[in-house]
Symmetry: C2
Subunit: 156 residues, 2 copies
DNA sequence: GGTGCTAAGTTCATATTATCTACTCAGCTC
DNA sequence: GAGCTGAGTAGATAATATGAACTTAGCACC
């Protein structure tokens, strides 16, 4: 990976992928966000990931500030670790929702499952959409994109 | 990668990541979608990717239906290939937008750049948001997710 | 009609990561 | 104090990525 990409890229997408762009990381986030997994063994069983890789990925996600490690103790057992998403980790629900929408529509299966997002208090279902400043929804097919300095995007 | 994940996973996120979940694929899509790159050499120079890997990834993206290979010929040169996003490839703008938003806010840089999406005809800027069926926008922090069979999501 | 140029690759040696299996370790239960 | 369980480590092997050099096809220019 050249220096123009990676951690110090000016491209926000490249910086995101530096953290998220491997086969396991987003699946671990998915598991934490949607299934609510917090324990080593829960991740291991849900994903079938090798334990050394899981250790490595969890440590990495903690370093990157997406997870925190907490110590807890259930009655009658010794203290254990649990891995809980931080605010930065939970904010990946946008990315997770986008990936899930793409998989559901472009790689559909009759027996598929996807996360359904709802408002915490009211259970109102929500979905992901492009919207204008006036609040109108716009289909993804009608858009064009161009690269823009982030400072021009402030306040939007 | 165990069978419960991968191509045949019932989880739409896992199926998406089977296609998109490596360090280069989404960067190639970004390059095509935002910079409008179509040629081997454009991708190569923009990304600094090794040519054998680029060949492999482009072929894979064609197989997966995200790109098409077209032959074109400029006056005075021999015929060449260009790689153009399909409808399925362009529909990744949701994923790209989500990744870019995350990178811009959670891995901010003073000199950062991100794609700005606008409506094709009117240049009206749009952004990604969670919305209710009534069209109200909801902050990503107020949401909860749970796994749901896709058929329950039909019509939303 | 030979030389050089360029886009688009291929080949191959090396380095890095992932996978799979077996093992450790700490504290609890019995 | 023997065995169980969750949470890992360690190490051999397999798969991928990286980087550099090489190939190929066709045109341009002399």
């Amino acid at each position: 990976m050249p220096k123009s990409l990676g951690k110090d890229s000016t491209c926000s997408i490249a910086r995101s992928l530096e953290v998220l762009g491997d086969r396991w990381t987003l699946l671990i986030v998915r598991e934490a966000l949607i299934a609510g997994s917090t324990r080593f063994q829960e991740f291991r069983e849900a994903l079938g990931i090798a334990p050394n890789l899981l250790t490595q990925r969890l440590t990495f996600l903690i370093e990157e500030g997406l997870l925190t490690r907490r110590t807890y103790q259930e009655a009658g057992t010794r203290s254990r670790h649990e891995y809980v998403l931080t605010e930065a980790g939970r904010s990946l629900n946008l990315v997770i929702a986008a990936l899930s929408d793409w998989g559901r529509t472009r790689r559909a299966r009759p027996d598929g499952t996807s996360p359904a997002f709802t408002v915490e208090d009211s259970d109102t279902p929500v979905r992901l959409a492009f919207v204008t400043d006036d609040g109108d929804q716009v289909g993804a097919g009608q858009l064009v994109a161009r690269r823009t300095p982030d400072r021009e995007l402030v306040g939007r």
